[in-house]
């Protein structure tokens, strides 16, 4: 006998939506396959898929290994150290998930580039240059590790924070050394999360677009994602683009299938409380050094974006009408995508939470996660081919497609955020809800919405920020009349208007940070008012 409230309409709505998403994926894949078989087989295609696959895998593998190492070290430091501003530092690392890759890439160039801060300083003081380490594999890895290492650190810190207090008390009363403490208490708490986290970071790095585009420095370091974009936008080689997209989907699907059996990575993160049990002097010194280096590596590129962006270039950019059009487009698309993501995620999660049948729960979940296998550029390619096949000009379909594509790309994160708490609410309060005879709407309005306030805010913030910083989808659909801020920034970089790019990067950084910080709090407050 189930204690869950009986809500057939929720399950039905979820199933209809899941079927619609699955159909859309199928149609997009059909469009890609169809184009592949119809496109002429040009022997002049210069696309070397094995090389691209090797480069992408090496880059993603190295990013994953280094990010996990950095993330573990950083989580260890943050878990142990107590200092003023600790919450701010943790908040900055947490924002890595929404910091647009192109901003970090731009910040890297400002610090490590040929005309960056370091070269300017060494040139001024010692008369030599360190070259341009921001370009090539080293630059790509550095930028990825800045984002993914910080993301890993925040997730792993939450695991360390969740260690039961009695276990820590036992360890402390036994006088465990810093090494013993890590091996006996910390490692068992985090090791279960590492494989799932590794899969996510590998997928993020494997499908990374703007960082490789800006820092790749040439074909030698090109990845599948960038090669797809280049095949469509620069070489007009549709067949090559489709073959690359299929390779990309194949590898991502394999990673997702392999990681399906792994423990899920928690995505909802509460506030972090510093430990009262400090390690010895040596360990503490090491923690301070590591944290300082990591904070500098993460914050300096972002700081440089703000410093170079909030100068004179800002006024020049703001005096141009296309900036305001792009800003309005970005905000509109971001808002619509966020609302669409929330609606889809709520309907799917409410449907999953209303049934205990494993088959139905899988049906309601699989289409969502299938989108992890179809990265932004591939998704755009599918839409691009589909609208062309339907006889619609890509420019005309662009606004709708970009909103839908951005919403679908944010959906896995949204469902991962809303699903577990909704499941918990229905399983722990199911008996009470049934005994009180609450309707489905009462259940949502009186119980689920107030308890989910912050999570709903997190979903809105994540999807809004993903959309605001997106370059992968808009890169294929953008036109002169339909431009977002990231595309405007990309064009400014292409036209060597560095000041313009810096100003737009600064605005994007401020916008994503504000949305990421403010939206969860705002929605939480609104849901509290209702209570």
């Amino acid at each position: 006998m189930t204690t869950l409230p009986i809500r057939p309409q929720r399950v039905a709505a979820g199933l209809v939506l899941a079927a619609a998403i699955a159909s859309l994926i199928a149609v997009l894949l059909w469009a890609i396959f169809n184009a592949a078989s119809a496109a002429p087989n040009t022997s002049s295609s210069s696309v070397d898929i094995p090389h691209l696959l090797r480069m992408t895998s090496i880059q993603a593998g190295l990013t994953t290994a280094i990010s996990l190492l950095v993330g573990t070290a950083l989580a260890w430091c943050l878990n142990r150290l107590r200092f003023p501003g600790r919450d701010l530092v943790i908040g900055i690392f947490a924002s890595a998930i929404v910091t647009p890759g192109m901003i970090v890439a731009f910040g890297m160039l400002s610090i490590w580039g040929r005309n960056g801060w370091i070269n300017q300083t060494t040139g001024h003081l010692f008369g030599f240059s360190i070259g341009n380490p921001a370009f090539g594999l080293s630059g790509i890895l550095f930028a990825h590790v800045i984002l993914d290492g910080a993301f890993a650190a925040r997730i792993l810190l939450a695991r360390l924070d969740a260690i039961p207090s009695p276990r820590l008390k036992t360890g402390q009363s036994l006088g465990l050394s810093a090494i013993q403490r890590f091996a006996i208490i910390d490692w068992p708490a985090i090791r279960g999360t590492l494989p799932g986290l590794a899969a996510i970071i590998f997928l993020l790095a494997f499908t990374s677009f703007p960082i490789v585009l800006l820092l790749g420095g040439g074909p030698a370091n090109q990845t599948l994602e960038v090669a797809i974009y280049a095949a469509i936008r620069q070489d007009f080689d549709l067949r090559a683009a489709v073959l690359l997209a299929l390779t990309q989907i194949g590898v991502c699907s394999l990673v997702i299938l392999a990681s399906a059996a792994l423990p899920p990575v928690p995505s909802a993160l509460g506030p972090s409380k510093a430990q009262s049990w400090s390690d010895g002097v040596l360990a503490r010194t090491l923690q301070i050094i590591l944290l300082t280096l990591a904070a500098a590596a993460f914050i300096l590129p972002l700081l440089s974006v703000l410093v170079s962006g909030l100068g004179n270039g800002l006024l020049v950019v703001m005096s141009r009408p296309n900036f305001w059009w792009s800003l309005a487009t970005s905000l509109t698309i971001g808002t619509l995508s966020a609302l669409l993501t929330l609606t889809l995620a709520l309907l799917l999660s409410l449907g999953r939470g209303a049934t205990a049948r494993p088959g139905l729960r899988i049906l309601l979940g699989v289409p969502v996660y299938a989108y992890l296998a179809v990265p932004a550029v591939v998704l755009s390619l599918g839409f691009f081919l589909l609208v062309r096949a339907l006889g619609i000009a890509p420019g005309a379909a662009a606004p709708v497609v970009v909103v839908i594509a951005n919403a679908l790309l944010a959906l896995p994160f949204a469902v991962a955020t809303l699903g577990p708490p909704l499941d918990a609410i229905t399983s722990t309060r199911g008996k009470l809800i049934r005994s009180l005879g609450l309707t489905s709407w009462q259940q949502f309005a009186l119980i689920e919405y107030p308890l989910l306030g912050r999570d709903i805010g997190v979903v809105l913030a994540l999807s809004f920020c993903f959309s605001l910083g997106d370059l992968g989808v808009i890169a294929l659909f953008g036109t002169q009349d339909f431009t977002t801020l990231p595309l405007l920034m990309f064009r400014a970089l292409g036209a060597y208007r560095g000041n313009d790019a810096a100003a737009i990067a600064a605005i994007l950084l401020i916008g994503t940070t504000l949305a990421f910080v403010a939206l969860p709090r705002l929605i939480e407050r609104l849901s509290n008012v209702r209570r």
Partner: protein, 212 residues
């Protein structure tokens, strides 16, 4: 004698602080009972060093240990749960009671002797997660033997055990306390545990301890 003298503590925003006077003698079990939320865990945290008092002293045979961190206090701790690290074997859990400087051969024999003393000989290789509740508490007591600290703090150590097991573990605690002359302090809200073990009984009411 292990003693808390006018030990004072208040949580942020708490107007009336806790005030504790307590004496525990070697070879005896001193019990502290009280309703849920009365402050038993706070008292234990203060004695163990996890919370810092705003006033008063904790002494062992006249030596002030109030400022010592938990790892340097002359005491062992046995909690209701999480007394063992579940992914480690019983032997490895017990070994943690010894200094890392202890020679390997000595460690092995000491661990085997301690496990035998608590009736767990032959269980050393077993993972803690696979042990029953009573067996876990026995292994934790074996570790306490190796730590060889004069004070043993017990926080509801029998709560998760069935009646038969709690009877045998209670007896074991009493025997070990008398044999090793420990100052054992039992914090519990179970009247039968207190009745079965305690020589000296305190009741925690209105944020103060009262000798019964």
């Amino acid at each position: 004698m292990f003693a808390a003298d006018n030990l004072t503590f208040a949580y942020p925003g708490q107007i009336e602080p806790y005030r504790f006077w307590l004496e525990a003698h070697d070879g005896e079990v001193t019990a502290v009972s009280g309703a849920s939320g009365s402050g038993k865990s706070t008292l234990l945290d203060l004695l163990a060093g996890f919370a810092r008092p705003s006033g008063g002293t904790i002494t062992l045979d006249g030596a002030d240990i109030t400022a010592l961190p938990p790892e340097h206090r002359p005491l062992s701790l046995l909690l209701q749960s999480e007394s063992l690290f579940e992914h480690l074997s019983a032997t490895r859990n017990v070994e943690l009671g010894l200094s890392t400087a202890t020679p390997r051969a000595d460690t092995k024999s000491a661990v085997e002797a301690a496990l035998a003393e608590v009736g767990m000989a032959g269980f050393g290789a077993q993972k803690a997660a696979t042990l029953s509740g009573g067996q876990k508490q026995r292994v934790a007591l074996a570790r306490t033997l190796l730590r060889n600290r004069p004070v043993l703090l017990l926080d509801e150590p029998f709560s998760a055990l069935d009646d038969a097991t709690r009877g045998t573990i209670r007896t074991l605690v009493k025997e070990l306390t008398e044999r090793h002359r420990w100052h054992t302090i039992l914090v519990s809200h179970h009247a039968d545990d207190v009745a079965a073990l305690a020589t000296r009984r305190y009741r925690l009411e209105n944020r103060t301890l009262r000798l019964e």
